[in-house]
């Protein structure tokens, strides 16, 4: 109990409060701006953390981490341009709601989802961290491989009407992820003699090209935004809409749990979390057909899923010293720079720091919600701007934002090529998300497959020798066979 109070006092110290508020606002800003995202914000703020106490430094960076996910929902809902890659899923229902003049409902659902997902994941982090880390500690390459395969199968199956295109795009995404120098063998792959290609194709460049530039070009052609129908009478979030979306509290909790569990596993990350949370919500909804056409429950599920990832990703980082993704790898850097080495003993050696971290995470989620709820109008005003200004500005910000990540103009070229492809594929109605998921999950599947085969001396039968893997693979088989069985049953009746 003493530790909890000590952490509470440290979290509410003025320096910590200032750091987390600044971090959260920076996070929201970089989350809202397409092409940036929390990574750029965290990297930029990293040099400032060297002069700070470890808890204050962590609050600053965690603010950017969480604030980025909050902010990413705003352009996804209003413009169908994801501020962060995982917000793609939020746009499925958020943008149709905006088109119908119900942007307030969509943003309420997204913000409540983000806050709820964050709070649920913190509760899980605090209560179940030791238990969950013990489970994750039992995972080896075969288990991670099976989980990643399960995730990608879920993506393919969710596009049943366009299964061929989804499979093609997943394969293409896998292949794109292999371009560049292969880490384990240092062999160049599909670089076609280009020096720049040896670094591979940057995920941010590909995603921003596909969705940012591609969508901006489509916006110019189709003029999707119906700005006149948007209710901008309020400068803040309409709290009566919040009450309406709270009827989906079960979805909120479920999505938060899903996001935390996915965040716990190194690799899959927020894109998969929001996608799975969305898909589960759709499957369990009494009206699944309304998903993708403007159902606030979809926004809520997606945002709860992706905003639960940061707390989930902290679990393996704090207890095992394994960063779940690039963002938590930066946090690991802050720990080690301050002479703190995350691992099983951290919870015993630094209980106050851990308690401060939990309180800070809680405060960050509340601050991010309040900041966006109160200053909603400046963000919502974006949709009042003519489509030409939006399209041209989105392309400019995306290209400069992509350059800002690695300071490489080559990435701008990649984004432009991806933008052209994205425009054509969006025009044809292909499921672009499958391509992004292929690019994100490809390296995880590849690395785990090679490690698994190495463990089995080249034999894949090792997958059937481990109980957890067998269960996950059985789920994969069920996932593929269930729709087939459903179709056969329907035909026979």
């Amino acid at each position: 109990m003493e530790t909890i109070f000590a952490g509470f006092a440290a979290a509410f110290a003025l320096s910590n409060l200032i750091a987390l508020v600044i971090g959260t606002i920076v996070g929201i800003v970089v989350g809202v701006l397409p092409g940036l995202g929390p990574m750029v914000g965290m990297v930029v703020l990293l040099p400032f953390t060297f002069q700070l106490a470890p808890d204050v430094a962590l609050s600053l960076l965690l603010g950017v981490f969480c604030g980025g996910y909050f902010g990413g929902a705003v352009p996804a809902v209003l413009l169908k341009v994801p501020g962060v890659p995982s917000s793609i899923v939020t746009s499925f229902d958020g943008f149709p709601l905006t088109e119908r003049g119900e942007a307030q409902t969509a943003l309420s659902a997204a913000l409540v989802g983000s806050l709820g997902g964050g709070l649920v994941s913190i509760a899980i982090l605090v209560v179940l961290a030791p238990l969950l880390s013990r489970v994750a500690a039992n995972f080896g390459p075969p288990e991670y491989f099976a989980v990643a395969v399960f995730g990608i199968l879920l993506v393919a199956v969710s596009f049943r009407e366009r299964l061929g295109q989804a499979v093609l795009l997943i394969g293409l995404g896998f292949w794109l992820s292999t371009i560049g120098i292969d880490g384990p063998t240092l062999s160049p792959r599909f670089t076609f003699g280009s020096w720049d290609m040896q670094n591979g194709l940057d995920l941010v460049a590909l995603v921003l090209g596909l969705f940012g530039i591609g969508q901006a070009l489509l916006l110019l052609e189709q003029g999707i935004l119906k700005t006149d129908s948007l209710n901008l009478s309020r400068s803040s979030l309409d709290f009566s809409r919040i009450a309406k979306v709270l009827i989906y509290w079960k979805t909120l909790i479920r999505s938060g749990v899903i996001g935390t569990l996915i965040g716990l596993l190194p690799g899959p990350g927020s894109v998969l979390a929001s996608f799975i949370a969305y898909d589960v919500a759709k499957r369990r909804s009494p009206d699944p057909d309304s998903f993708g056409k403007g159902n606030p429950e979809g926004c809520l599920a997606s945002e709860a899923g992706n905003n639960a990832v940061p707390a989930g990703a902290l679990i393996p980082l704090l207890t095992l010293g394994i960063p779940g993704e690039a963002l938590s790898a930066l946090l690991l850097g802050v720990f080690t720079l301050n002479g703190i080495y995350p691992g099983p003993l951290l919870l015993i050696k630094e209980p106050v720091l851990i308690s401060t971290l939990y309180w800070s995470m809680l405060l960050i989620n509340i601050v991010a919600f309040i900041v966006l709820a109160v200053w909603l109008k400046p963000f919502a005003m974006i949709v009042k701007v003519p489509k030409e200004i939006i399209a041209v500005s989105v392309i400019a910000v995306s290209l400069v934002g992509i350059y800002a990540v690695n300071s490489r103009f080559f990435d701008c070229g990649v984004a432009l090529a991806a933008g052209a492809a994205g425009y054509v594929l969006l025009r044809l109605g292909w499921p672009l998300v499958a391509l992004v998921m292929g690019i994100v999950i490809g390296p995880i599947i590849e690395n785990r497959l090679r490690e698994t085969l190495s463990l089995g001396d080249g034999s894949p039968m090792i997958l059937l020798e481990r109980p957890i893997t067998v269960v996950i693979l059985a789920l994969c088989v069920l996932l593929v066979l269930a729709p087939l069985r459903h179709r056969i049953m329907r035909r026979s009746t």
Partner: protein, 171 residues
């Protein structure tokens, strides 16, 4: 059926044909890369195949090719004339803006972030159909200022020194 309905149906059929044609092309490209993969991937290392750099790309390309099979089958079963594809040709404004965007990033290296952003935004707005030159000028100036504040003042992103101005300075 009205003329509009007929045009919509024809356009949808054209889009579907174009989609199947694109999928088939990607599938064929994937097959081509599978066949020539050894010349694009350095497999000279000592690792056995299952640890090597080629196993996953081959799986990825096989998945891509497999995904294209239904589209190729549809295309073979119901071949349509190329005129179908002409109906789904790309409109000029996005094309013009895209071409302009291709010059934007190189222009940053030549003229710097501010000048190139201002020029891109102003020209882009006019090309995109925003035919109010004064407002376009003002908008370009405001967005350029905001981008300068965000990327240079706040985020402190490094941009290469513009070669154009140094050339003028040296002259």
């Amino acid at each position: 059926m009205s003329d509009t309905d007929g045009a919509d149906t024809s356009s949808r059929a054209g889009m579907s044909w174009a989609g199947d044609a694109l999928a088939t092309l990607i599938g064929l490209a994937a097959l081509g890369l599978m066949v020539t993969a050894k010349s694009h991937v350095d497999v000279s290392g000592p690792d056995p195949f299952y640890k090597g750099p080629l196993i996953f790309p081959l799986i990825a390309l096989a998945i891509t090719a497999a995904g294209a099979v239904p589209a190729a089958a549809r295309l073979l079963r119901a071949p349509r004339s190329a005129s179908q594809a002409i109906r789904v040709r790309l409109p000029p404004r996005p094309l013009l803006l895209f071409v302009l965007a291709c010059f934007y990033a190189p222009a940053i290296a030549v003229a710097g972030l501010d000048a190139s952003t201002f020029a891109f935004l102003f020209a882009g707005l006019l090309l995109a159909g925003y035919l109010k030159p004064l407002r376009a000028l003002l908008t370009a100036a405001i967005v350029t200022l905001l981008m300068h504040l965000a990327f240079i003042t706040v985020l402190d992103i490094w941009f290469p020194a513009p070669t154009l101005w140094s050339a003028f300075g040296g002259a």
